[in-house]
Symmetry: C2
């Protein structure tokens, strides 16, 4: 059955969505059937693939007991890549779920049947999370097999690393998700000419020697331009350093999880 990978970091603007979309595209191209789930009310992953946020299209309903995840899966127009898009109402989950018991396991329950029936023989399910450690992100971590932390190679981004790693431990210890592991820390927007970038990478590698992906995503304006055309980097500029980095990352994950 599919490996579920949550891409999370409460720090904003660190490349979560850019990674979720382009990694999903690179995996699909490498013949790993992939489902991308947009759990961020902003819906950036949805629009990066050129799709619309429409009411009723997201996991919002199933998370409230209306409908099932399987019925929310849509085509993206890319071979081997499916999506469950976001909708604005997702934001309401943060307060609505707070009033329920079992509020950390909702998503695990919603994805359960989908993982068992596996209509598309998926190799990977990627979940894009909002920039917070609220109930939506906690649910995504509760439903995942592993966590990929995108880390912008800048000082402020390092500050929050300890916090999300401790959330990982808490979810395991609380028994919400006892097999959740860290897939790794992915360096993003790396600029080898900048002292700041180099310093951040050195510090993170010192703290977490075994958890940093070999692949680093370079800063490249083409990655920021592609979304305005509703294209992945593979479609917009496939020989770009950013595109090559995401293809390399896909290979690292295929090896790690024998996809």
């Amino acid at each position: 059955s599919a490996q579920v990978l949550a891409i999370a970091n409460q720090k904003g603007g660190v490349g979560k969505t850019t990674t979720a979309v382009n990694l999903a595209a690179a995996l699909a191209e490498a013949k790993v059937p992939t489902l991308l789930i947009d759990m961020d009310p902003q819906g950036n992953a949805t629009s990066m693939l050129g799709l619309e946020r429409t009411d009723g299209a997201s996991l919002y309903g199933p998370m409230n007991g209306e409908g099932i995840a399987r019925d929310k899966i849509i085509e993206t127009g890319r071979k081997g890549l499916w999506m469950i898009p976001a909708e604005v109402d997702l934001a309401a989950l943060e307060t609505e779920m707070a009033r329920r018991d079992n509020y950390l396991r909702q998503m695990k329950q919603v994805l359960g049947p989908l993982r068992e029936t596996d209509p598309f023989h998926l190799g990977m399910i990627i979940i894009d999370c909002p920039p917070a450690l609220g109930l939506i992100s906690m649910n995504c971590l509760g439903a995942a097999d592993s966590l990929l932390i995108t880390l912008q190679t800048e000082y402020l981004a390092m500050e929050g690393l300890g916090q999300i790693l401790s959330v990982l431990d808490q979810l395991r210890e609380a028994g919400v998700n006892d097999h959740l592991e860290l897939a790794g820390v992915l360096m993003t927007m790396y600029d080898k000419r900048m002292r700041l970038s180099q310093e951040v990478v050195a510090q993170v590698k010192e703290h977490l020697p075994d958890s940093v992906f070999k692949t680093m995503i370079p800063r490249s304006v083409r990655l920021a331009e592609a979304p305005s055309f509703g294209q992945t980097i593979l479609e917009y500029d496939r020989w770009n350093p950013g595109a090559r980095a995401y293809k390399k990352l896909a290979k690292e994950l295929i090896e790690k999880y024998s996809l």
Copy 2:
């Protein structure tokens, strides 16, 4: 009494904290006594000033009816600049407040007495918000006189602009804060060599011709380096284009609100 300015945008990493801290420093330097309130559980504004997130130091207590805002104000070591720092527990407010009545007006009530007694003859109170439109940000907007939206000059950042502007209208219409106005949209990380930056600026100016600040904040790595020394840009590199831009922005606000 002081003008209360909330700096918000649900999109992550768009320069909210960098603007809150450096604008506050520029106003204090221009002899406008300023209080900076860090309402982001990440506590980046707190650490950018070289201060620690300590339990009990934030508005978390007063928002839960324990203690008053006046007692949380601390010195920053900079003349004319005070702070109410963040603490990790702030994150719990998102779920705790959901269970209460009147949950959008808590912060307005907490800041009320402080605005009336005004112990430091403040000219401006600046509030740094987390990257979400959850209950913390809504409370900050409920307590503010005006909203400054930082907008990174990249495509994905434009997507959320409509949403935060409609929240502004909703809070006014719902009577939560009927005098809340838009102070303006501040372009950040502007790179005049990039076509993408120019296109975003042109599009936003077309949609909101009267709401864009004249000052634009250029992309400058010095702004990203300063936080690792716990310094504002004025302390770290005061002749840097980013420092000059924040001084210019301070002047624009001093004129606009006769501070």
